[in-house]
Amino acid sequence: MTQSYIVVFKSEADMPGTTMSLGSTLYNKTGSWRYMRPIYRNRTSPCNHACPAGEDIVDYLQMVVQGDLEGAQQRILAENPLIGVCGRVCPHPCESDCNRAHLGGAIAIHCLERFLASLPGERKLPQTDHTAPPGAQVAVVGSGPAGLSCAYQLARRGYKVTVFEALPVAGGMLRVGIPAYRLPRDVLDAEIGAIEALGVEIRTNTRLGHNLALDDLQDYHALFLAVGQHRSRRLGIPGEDAQGVIPGLDFLRRVNLGERVQIGPRVAVIGGGNTAMDAARCALRLGARQVTILYRRSRHEMPAIDEEIEETEQEGVKIEYLTAPVEVLTTIGKVTALKCVRMRLSDPDESGRRRPEPVRGSEYTLPIDMVVPALGQEADLSFLDSAIHSAGGLILINNAAVTSSPCTFAGGDAATGAGTVAYAIGSGKRAALAIDRRLRGETLDGFPPLAEHVRVAARDVDPTVVQFEGINLAYFQEEARTPQQRRPAADRVRDFREVNLPFSEEDALREAKRCFSCGTCNYCGTCWLYCPDICIRRHPKEEQPSGPSRSAYEFDYDYCKGCGVCAEECPRQAIVMEEELKWKK
């Protein structure tokens, strides 16, 4: 390499036409001037941070943008085998935290997930290394989302898994809690079928504590309890056991199992959760003339998913807020009316919601033929023995999903009470990873707290969550969220066919392109373009990785002066600047 030297021209003829160095400037390693060093370091996107199932959402959205739909599907399936389910029924906390919300509306992530779930062709569940010790077998109790997720993750690692299901069909709440108009049966059947195809055996009509005892499971090396919460909470008011009062979960279970249920022409559903909405909408579909939901707080406190409340109202269900039943009035043991009292909200309680209290003297009577209490659910833990501890109606577990009995793990609603499919899936996955480690004799330290998610195919990502303020708005314009179409309300109350319609490929691509890709390099080239020292090397397009490494650029630190333009310009905070001294330490 040439060295610097001083040139003195003897005549103008020797000089170039303009002022430029005749020699190369490569000898001048300007990297030595640097005080700050840019580093490609992906940060955490709010969607990834929020997803209880531990999906790498930002990664798969970028794969959709790149046109790798199969890859995107496989990427989710590595974390969650029930993507057709989640794309339909998950309350999508990812969207609640999405930074795009401030610039045209959150990305319709659930619609994209559903789109990927329904790619044509036979679905293949992604391969992974077999880590199971020879002959290792695990028993899973409960075939709901937690049990299925655990069974899937174990089976793909080579474990022999047997799932015991109390009901005559597999799926838990997915099967008997969620009606077909939200989750078509063929979608559920296919996803459960794919898990069975991995060698998982599901034994139905086998209820723990009834025709199965914990002792019967001695041969299994580990046990995962995911029995769910299938018992409705009681109203606790006079007349509750009258003919015509049917608890919400019982009602949904009977409807979903295809049993004939007598529907009163006038139905009152008590409660504000998704079970209440589903019960009301099922009653409507089964011929109820008038369906009213009674909720003791206001719309603001209502726990049901917003879209579901909206859909329920569209279908003609009346929701009465700030009212609570005080007595079921009967004639010859049969419901005739509901005595209610108006409520008002006072100070917030321990859940943070404002506590309802009755308004004195505001009692009124509502003529009704059928009452469906949907006040929440609880687990039936009567099968537990003294070795497995529970408290407050939940099985006690630590961060590795271990109960007080070392080889018994637990998860799902029975252990967490979390009540969402996505959380149950994350919970089952956590247990599977822990069981795998335990059976291989590894330590169970290092699992994140239960409120955080676990990921199978984790990327090396900084835990800092990118906020909207971190997005460089010079690069994004306001673009409206792609709406999900629904069948007309008048049409959909006639049957149990699916209410929400799928995204077209065009919708999916447009929507994925709206994603900021928060904290996640998507090869936009902005750093490369702006670097004033031309010291960023870009891998050729065909060598750019499609997840999970997500870095297509390298700094040439011989020349990078550390000006920080790359980090400043990066539209999505995927570059950090670190002090050089600290780096050298």
């Binding site: 036409g17 430029m20 160095s21 020699g23 400037t25 031309i534």
Partner: protein, 384 residues
Amino acid sequence: MEKVIMGNHAVSYGVLLSRVQVIAAYPITPQTQVVEMLSEFCADGRMKASFIKVESEHSVMAATAGASIAGARAFTATSSHGLALMHEVLHWAAGGRLPIVMANINRTLGPGWNIWTEQTDSLAQRDTGWLQFYCESNQEVLDMVIQAYRIAETVLLPVMLVLDAFFLSHTEEPVDIPDQSLVDSFLPPYEPRYKLQPGDPHSFYGLVAPEHFMELRYKMQRDMERAVQVARQVGADFGSTFGRAYDVVEKYRMEGADLVLVTSGSIAGTTRVVVDELRTAGQRVGMLKVRMFRPFPFAALRESLADAQKVAVIDRNISYGHGGIFASEAKAALYGAAHQPLIYSFIIGLGGRDVTPQSIRSIVSYVQEHEGPAEQIIWMEVKK
């Protein structure tokens, strides 16, 4: 192919045919349509060029210069205040020896706020080291864009081609748009001697101490001088390729003319009509159209005016405290010449006021009635 198009679009077609690779622009009335059409060419794929939107004309010229340093054929267009804002970077483009071509639509500088034509904006940039050509018709505009690149890339200096606001920019005329293959044979791809490139980096435009600076300027002036001959050669070659030859000046009905009207831009078109009229009436009047203003074609002017008795220079511009700018250049050109005609300096049409055939007749009458100019500047059609 013949098309009826406005002057602004004649610029755009010239740029398209010249296979320009980078365009940076900021819109300003009356230039906007030039770059609007170019942006469409870039968007629909007719041009394989990068179109860079920038936040000001200062940045326009910086981006254009950057593209040119990197070896791309670069173009921009502007007008009036936009050109004024570029001023600093115009020096960098010329001193950097970058063969950029820019169209400037002559527009009055404010205040008072005015969007109509006047040459003062471009003439105020005469000392920046840019070549300047003034066009009379839309055909000449298109032809000049193509010639401008060949001239610029030969002498390694930037070229500004100038057209009048509205009289050319927004007026539609039939224009022959030559075949791309013919243009390609006339204008080969730009191959820079030096360029900025990552693999073989050089430093550009660094500090130059007094011991070398004068030589750089000496070389620049020498190439400016050479540009006159280059432009004549390119104009002649253009004639043999496309059937329309150009020179740095155009002599119109000058044979035996006692009185010569010297002018430029669209006023030349009006003057042409009046000259025909007067010739028919038996008067010995001719016109000298000055196409190239920088470098100033001293020799051509001197030779053209060798037999004239009286010369009327018609300026739609003013150097405050001095006078008409073409007039002062003409006087300088004739200083020391063996034959010294009388020079009358007319200022007319500032701020876009219409210059009509009657205006030109009045100028001729004035010259015929006065044995010499009664004033240093003869202001035409001022409401006194």
